[in-house]
Amino acid sequence: MTRFLRNQGWVAGLFALFVLLFVLTKLIQPGYGSGDFGSLVRAVLPYAFAVAAQTVVVIAGGIDLSVAAMMALTSVTAASMMNGASEEYALFVVPFVLAMGLVLGALNGILIVVTRVPDIVVTLATLFVLQGAALLVLGAPGGAAADWLKASIVGTLPIPGLPDNIDAWVPKALVLLVVCLCIIWIPLRRSKLGLSIYAIGSSELAAFRSGVPVARTRIIAYALSGLFAAMGGLALTMSTGIGAPIPGPYLLASVAAVVLGGVALGGGKGGLLGPIVAVFVLRLVRTDLTLLAIDPNVTAIIEGAIMVAVVMFGAFITIRGRPAGAMP
């Protein structure tokens, strides 16, 4: 139990913070109910996928600056393909866009492995490329989304055997998020591939010498990141009903949530749960600030300050926890 707590301490702390914030929200706005929770989850959805995309790559010891641009490209692709098309056509669009994300992500990885240029520069370059491609697909916000896709994140999922008042707290968006992440993450975490991803993030040389196919693992990590980003792009199209070619603030948010979630930027540490809880915390803070009727510009300052403070605190704890004399 203590070992579990030590390992999951950070995530547990985050979760406690989330609950605390939730109680605070209830105090600020006694009427805050299940409907508001549903809209919170809907707002979190694209952020959560962006965070998942960033997490996989960061655990593998890299960073992906092209996450937001990838989401923009997949979002406009989905929106323009579904524009004026039949409802059934969307059944084809969704797997197509996901595959596109996977391939483009893999391309990121291949470029990093082949050119040997630092990942930060490669993904910076692909950021421009994907952004440009998004602008070519759709010059201005537009397109459409199939109705069943839009409906799939609105409302709650009726679960048989659960009373309605509990059921109201299970929005479809949350179910969708959990299912999508679990389908990929849990098998990955338990497989050899997942272990390899952690290994190359922890120490590339050690992984190489223990026979881990470093190049292949890195490419797969970026491909998974692309897949998550494509999910994020789809989530954007689903929640707005259109596609916008200009990337949203997802890059910064994803990096912030990854760090907040206890994933070391050097790689090899952390999991997916922490960053996802972290992104909920960050969004809920924003909701609270809005409920307190604080100027949205001040909200940006507070958000930034929280992020910086938390990161500093986390780094400080890491220094203190390390035996004296051992420096990174």
């Binding site: 370059a125 440009g132 070619p245």
Partner: protein, 328 residues
């Protein structure tokens, strides 16, 4: 030994050229710059004249100074993504404060946020050991928020560009841009600092092997704090120069320069992992990017295609450059 000295092994011409370029990393960069200018001249005969030259230099200078910030921080293994926000803040505060204040007071006010953000960055990175990417992204978020709040307070007083900055940003003297008056001493100072002073050597030492530097008595946090304050100050000065060039104060004035400034430093041969590189390469990198932008504008491509090409070229140049330099 002696026989091989008197009768050198026949080395193929290609290898000799490669070795020559690897020994003088500036040569391939200059060749690339010349090739780009020649392509420009072929596409639009007669475009390369004095006016064009002055214009290119004018637009390259702000980029080159910001890239200088990146070069210095990258030498220590860091990066400074807050330069765009800092430059924008200085420019905006200068333009709005000059209306009611003495120029000297306005200048001091404009430099205040730069020092402050630099100090926070430095303390975060140096003392708390936060990853520079996160730290500077966070402070830039806070800075942008503060700027938006500040904008409300000065909305009535309006803004104007001081004549002096106008002269510095756009003026020409005997065909030379006045901005060179600022840039040349600045560049000489940076190159001199990096090559000849103790502080410069400390930067290389910290970036090359932080632990070794620390064990040999380098006060890490002092070096880093000084570095980030200097970087921020340079960014602030760039903002003042840039507002004289663009002449329209806005809240995202220098933001588009941030990623190209990173690209310029990387193209110029500074390693993003620290310990290797210099400022002269960066200046040429900034010139290359500026000429490239002109080239892509002249080809009259849609914005999307232009971004794609920009990304691809940055990636290609970096990869090719790494190949040449690393083949020793």
């Amino acid at each position: 030994m002696t026989s091989s000295a008197t009768m050198p092994q026949p080395v193929s011409f290609g290898r000799r050229v490669k070795r020559f370029m690897a020994d003088r990393p500036l040569v391939p960069l200059i060749i690339l710059l010349v090739i780009l200018v020649v392509i420009l001249q072929i596409l639009r005969p007669g475009i390369v004249n004095e006016r064009w030259l002055a214009n290119t230099v004018k637009f390259a200078i702000p980029l080159a100074i910001l890239a200088g910030c990146q070069t210095m921080t990258m030498l220590t293994g860091g990066i400074d993504l807050s330069v765009g926000t800092v430059a924008t803040m200085s420019a905006f505060i200068m333009a709005t404060q000059i209306v009611n204040q003495d120029p000297a007071v306005a200048f001091l006010l404009a430099m205040m946020p730069a020092v402050l953000i630099g100090l926070i960055n430095g303390i975060g990175v140096g003392v708390f050991r936060v990853h520079p990417l996160i730290m500077t992204l966070g402070t830039s978020l806070i800075g942008t928020g503060c700027l938006q709040v500040y904008q409300r307070t000065v909305i009535a007083s309006g803004a104007k560009i001081p004549d002096f900055l106008n002269w510095l940003g756009t003026g020409l003297t005997y065909g030379f841009p006045n901005a060179l008056l600022l840039f040349v001493p600045l560049a000489v100072l940076i190159v001199f600092t990096l090559r000849r002073t103790g502080f410069g050597r400390l930067l290389y030492a910290v970036g090359d092997n932080e632990r070794a530097a620390r064990l040999s008595g380098v006060r890490y946090w002092q070096v880093i704090t000084a570095l980030y304050v200097i970087s921020s100050l340079l960014a602030g000065i760039t903002g003042l120069l840039y507002i004289g060039l663009i002449k329209a104060p806005s809240l995202s004035l220098a933001e588009p320069l941030v990623l190209p400034s990173v690209a310029a430093a990387v193209i110029g041969g500074t390693s993003i992992f620290g310990g290797r590189g210099g400022y002269t390469g960066t200046i040429i990198g900034a010139l290359i990017l500026t000429v490239l932008t002109t080239l892509l504008t002249i080809l009259q491509m849609p914005e999307g295609a232009r971004r794609i090409l920009f990304g691809l070229i940055v990636l290609f140049v970096t990869a090719a450059y790494l190949r040449i330099v690393e083949e020793r």
